[in-house]
């Protein structure tokens, strides 16, 4: 193999690092997207027997949004292996204990259970907040688009913008806002 071809090979099979912002995202729907990047299914060279999976860095995992009353109702099962060792932990409890756990379990569950799954999971980095170690952020060359729009809170928009926003009518001066 000539030098040029060798470099071509490295370029084609290079691992790319992607970043994904979990803010206001559904972890179970996002997991389906993240999974594709971890396994390399977004590449035209994908084949289940070639090792072309990428690395995904998830940030803001503390800010995920579950659907409906999932925070209160969804239970995560664990069994210690001993009799009576079964525990059911609610999603909000799991999230308080470890804010990266729900997204991690969602991605793990989204992939097929085979021998590769645990090794593929090693390529997923999850951080609860915005802060990422410098050696990881310098590798990132691509960002995965979110599935949902991140809503902006009214008190986070500066006052001038709010005043400029078109209004149909003004409240009367004696109107009492609830």
């Amino acid at each position: 193999m000539s030098a040029a071809k060798r470099v071509q090979q490295w370029a084609t099979f290079a691992r790319t690092w992607h970043i994904f912002d979990c803010k206001w995202q559904d972890p179970y729907q996002s997991a389906e997207v993240i999974k594709k990047y971890l396994l390399g299914m977004h590449k035209p060279i994908y084949h289940p027997m070639n090792d072309c999976g990428d690395v995904v860095v998830c940030i803001n995992s503390r800010e995920i949004a579950l659907r409906g009353n999932d925070w209160r109702q969804r239970a995560y099962f664990h069994h210690t292996g001993y009799p009576g060792g079964a525990t059911w932990t609610l999603a909000w409890e799991v999230h308080n204990k470890d804010p990266t756990m729900i997204i991690k379990k969602a991605v793990y569950k989204a992939m097929r259970g085979n021998l590769q799954r645990r090794h593929t999971m090693q390529r997923l980095f999850i951080y609860p907040g915005e802060e990422i170690p410098e050696d990881i952020v310098q590798n990132v060359t691509n960002q995965i688009r979110q599935l949902r729009l991140v809503p902006t809170r009214l008190d986070h928009i500066d006052e001038e913008e709010v005043k400029k926003f078109p209004k149909v009518m003004d409240y009367p001066t004696d109107y009492v806002l609830k």
Partner: protein, 185 residues
């Protein structure tokens, strides 16, 4: 399914080395016809030997033909080729006309063609003119200078415009046209 689990060796479709473009070199070197003089299974090959074999060897002077009579054993054709391949073929109970056709196949093929599984039904020395794909093919060049994470690259851009947003845009447009009208006056 992985390749190593298959018994057949695998190969690509290949062009026959331009054989026959200038002159044709018969790739069949040697053919051995093994048969029994008494058994019914060799009936067809015996007919072939009686009627067609002399013509066959006269038309193909480059091919060595051996006859190997052997008692009470099945009839077999063994062909050997220039590239070293050896094709063994049973012609048990085959008729005269079938054997004529198989002899023609063995004579004209280039080595052991049926002994390999084709990986693909097409092959090219130049798979791509624009070069193989890399992770940076078709990527937005703006990503090269962006500091990630950036909501510009991370936000969903495939959603339709909401009614509120549409209304706001209409309002903006109206403001602009009003300003233009004032300038016009």
């Amino acid at each position: 399914m992985s390749n190593k689990n298959l018994f057949l060796k695998s190969a690509f479709v290949r062009a026959p080395l331009q054989n026959g473009v200038g002159r044709y070199v018969c790739q069949l070197q040697r053919i051995v016809l093994k048969f029994c003089k008494s058994h019914g299974a060799s009936r067809g090959i015996r007919d072939f030997i009686e009627q067609d074999l002399v013509d066959f060897s006269r038309q193909n002077p480059g091919v060595v033909v051996y006859l190997k009579p052997r008692r009470h054993r099945g009839p077999v054709l063994v062909a050997e080729y220039l590239n070293g391949d050896r094709v063994w073929m049973s012609v048990h109970n085959k008729t005269h006309s079938e054997i004529t056709k198989w002899m023609e196949v063995l004579r004209t093929q280039q080595g052991d063609v049926a002994g390999a599984r084709l990986k693909k039904y097409q092959y090219t020395d130049y798979p791509s003119v624009q070069g193989p794909w890399t992770p940076f093919t078709f990527k937005d060049p703006e990503l090269n200078v962006a500091t990630l994470p950036d909501p510009k690259f991370g936000a969903n851009n495939r959603l339709s415009v909401s009614a509120t947003e549409k209304l706001r845009l209409m309002f903006e447009k109206q403001k602009i046209s009003e300003k233009d009208m004032k300038i016009g006056e």
